[in-house]
């Protein structure tokens, strides 16, 4: 039963892959196979192109020949229009992979009289399908029939019949239609084609155009429901592959050095995690680009590939400027390890930036991507859009295990931390650069605001750009707060002098102590000799007294003998005492 259910599911969900970058991912494998799909959108949003790419990819990648029925453009026009995308229709037509069928109707030369059917169209499509064994059909834009043919009632019935007929034939069909006022299409084509409806949109926001694609419905299949940005460029149509993104990427324990030894130390001795997202933010001229360049340069030394997006400086200017602080990027660029991509953020819309970035990343396959700076994208109040874009990019990079390095310019009147707070959740390691103004000079301080997954230093370091690259120094932290630059130097000299004084003081104290000890010891000697003198005197007296006592006792004995007293065995004293009592 399970098997059967699975089987029916497979049958109902059979899909015709489009091979269009990203579209297969959001549709879960392609368009419904053997059914019609409606693509609607305003003028110039890429309907024809999407349909054509579907056919061409089908013919070249999946060996599914296709018929393109055009109601607007002639065969020649179509061929030359898509030649710019690298599609050689002439060749495909010759190889019987594609058949172009231009349906020409000119209202001015047509009169109508009574009921009709579209059997002629059916026959033509049928013939075209049969001639190349087509599996895919595009009708572009069949709605124009409404303008050319009389009696909409008959036309509607015929179109309904046509779609049924195509469905029965089992060909995967794309029907394009113009976007209507308040409806998906002008002529309500969605009534007839209801298996899959894709809406293309082309809007202009703050003078930059954004193309978006949305799957309005997809019968019998799950699909991404968001609006996805898409791009049309020399490689055709590409939708941003967002559905494949998520939080399920595996993380790396590998660490990569920052190119600044002291910074490595601050990041628990090893540097950034591979595949993590690093943000350096700071006010103007705090050295964000320098940190990025140093990182890029060290990556070049390790033989890693770096894709450097610069949005404010031209590559040559950047290379020149970095050379002045001893960071030479040129060799790596020449070796092909480092590739610059310079574009003004305002040049395209966010999506275009994103899609071009992703394309470049896919083709260059870098280990590290630098975006310098990300602020340029912020035009007006589009923070949330920028965040979404960066989120997509970050997810994409994480999936590819590419280390992302962003710089962000914070404006002075904003609080340093809060100005970037909207992207802070995306960031794994956040370095903050700040100006420290003391004693009439401006110095740079660097600290690690956060760094996920490592015990990082909480110390502020002085950040110096020397002729030999970046150097981090301990800042002076004393009772007067943090001191840097000359203030630190002068404080350090002051400290040194104080130290010397203290040393002297200690020496003096030690000397004094020694002297005291010596005096004490001398006193002890004197006292001891005095004592010894006294003691010998006392012993002498004691000896005399003893002798005197003995003599007295002997005298007593002698006396008692002479008095012929009992001399008992007992002590003389006792006997004597008894006698006395």
């Amino acid at each position: 039963m399970n098997n059967k259910a699975e089987q029916t599911r497979r049958i109902t969900l059979a899909k015709a892959p489009t091979s269009i970058q990203g579209l297969d991912e959001i549709t879960g494998g392609g368009l419904p196979k053997g059914r019609p799909t409606l693509i609607c959108g305003g003028a110039g949003c890429g309907k024809t192109l999407l349909a054509m790419e579907f056919l061409v990819r089908g013919a070249t990648d999946y060996n599914e020949p296709g018929v393109f029925v055009s109601f607007e453009e002639t065969e020649n026009e179509l061929t030359s229009n898509v030649a710019s995308l690298g599609f050689d229709l002439d060749d495909l037509v010759k190889r019987k992979k594609i058949s172009l069928e231009h349906i020409h109707i000119d209202r001015s030369e047509i009169e109508h009289s009574g009921a009709y059917s579209l059997e002629g169209l059916f026959i033509r499509i049928h013939l075209a399908i049969e001639s190349i064994g087509a599996k895919r059909v595009v009708l572009d834009t069949i709605e124009s029939l409404f303008a050319e043919l009389p009696n909409p009632l008959i036309l509607r019935a015929e179109l309904r019949r046509l779609f049924h007929w195509l469905k029965r034939k089992g060909v995967t069909t794309i029907v394009t239609a113009e976007r209507g006022e308040g409806a998906l299409t002008r002529q309500g084509m969605e009534e007839y084609v209801s298996d899959c409806v894709i809406l293309l949109d082309h809007r202009v926001n703050d003078q930059s155009s954004i193309r978006r694609l949305r799957i309005v419905k997809y019968r019998g299949s799950t699909h991404g429901t968001n609006e996805y940005p898409f791009l049309i460029d020399e490689a055709g149509f590409s939708v941003l592959p967002i559905t494949s993104l998520g939080l399920n990427y595996s993380t790396s324990k590998e660490r990569i050095p920052t190119g600044i030894p002291r910074l490595d130390t601050m990041l628990s001795g090893k540097g950034y995690f591979r595949g993590s997202t690093v943000l350096v933010s700071g006010t103007a001229g705090t050295g964000k680009t320098s940190i990025a360049a140093q990182f890029a340069e060290s990556a070049g030394r390790r033989g890693e590939r770096v894709l450097y997006f610069t949005f404010e400086e031209s590559p040559s200017q950047l290379v020149r400027n970095m050379l002045s602080i001893g960071i030479d990027l040129e060799p790596w660029e020449k070796k092909g390890l480092l590739q610059f991509h310079a574009a003004r953020p305002t040049l395209y819309g966010l999506e275009t930036h994103l899609t071009t970035s992703i394309k470049l990343i896919n083709s260059f396959k870098p280990d590290i991507v630098v975006l310098d700076p990300i602020n340029g994208f912020m035009i007006g109040e589009n923070q949330s859009e920028v965040k979404t874009m960066l989120l997509r990019l970050v997810d994409f990079l994480k999936m590819k295990r590419v280390t992302a390095f962003f710089t962000s310019l914070t404006t002075a009147h904003n609080d340093l931390e809060t100005s970037d707070v909207y992207i802070s959740s995306l960031i794994d390691t956040w370095l903050l650069l700040r100006d420290i103004e003391i004693g009439g000079e401006r110095n740079r301080g660097l600290y690690v605001l956060k760094s996920r997954g490592m015990s990082h230093s909480n110390q502020i370091r002085e950040f110096r750009l020397t002729d030999n690259g970046i150097e981090l120094l301990d800042v002076y932290v004393g009772s007067d707060g943090v001191l840097t630059g000359s203030a630190r130097l002068s404080q350090e000299t002051k400290d040194d002098a104080e130290e010397l004084l203290r040393q002297e003081e200690i020496g003096r104290k030690q000397f004094g102590l020694e002297r005291k000890r010596e005096a004490l010891e001398a006193q002890i000697v004197v006292l001891r000799s005095e004592f010894e003198a006294e003691a010998s005197e006392a012993l002498k007296v004691i000896g005399i007294d003893k002798a005197r006592n003995d003599r007295f006792n002997q005298d007593k004995i002698r006396m008692s003998k002479s008095r012929r007293g009992d001399v008992q065995n007992k002590s003389n004293g006792k006997a004597n005492t008894k006698k006395h009592t």
Binding site: E101, I103, H104, I105, E109, I110, E111, H112, S113, G114, A115, Y116, S117, L118, E119, G120, L121, I123, R124, H126, L127, L145, L149, P150
Partner: protein
Amino acid sequence: MRRERPAKPHGEKWVLRLYVAGQTPETDTAVTNLKLICEEQLNGNYHLKVIDLTVHPHLARVDQILAIPTLVRKSPAPMRKIIGDLSDTTRVLAGLNLTDQGAVTDKAGCGY
């Protein structure tokens, strides 16, 4: 004079083609209607060919046929097309450019 106007193309034969697809009621209606009009308006000075696209499908492409039935006036130039079962004679005449001839219009108006 009025009678001669329809034969205006100086003896040039009208070449008409009627594209149909198989034997359907509409086809029959169209053929009947057309023959009637032609006999009346062109005094037999025409050549009508009924083309069945189910038999010659490639002709649908050659002559840009979409709707069935379609009547094509190949000659005299310019080419004209009339789609439908030709049940509305006024429109057929307009389509064949026979209406600018007052008599025809009148006649058609009276006749139907």
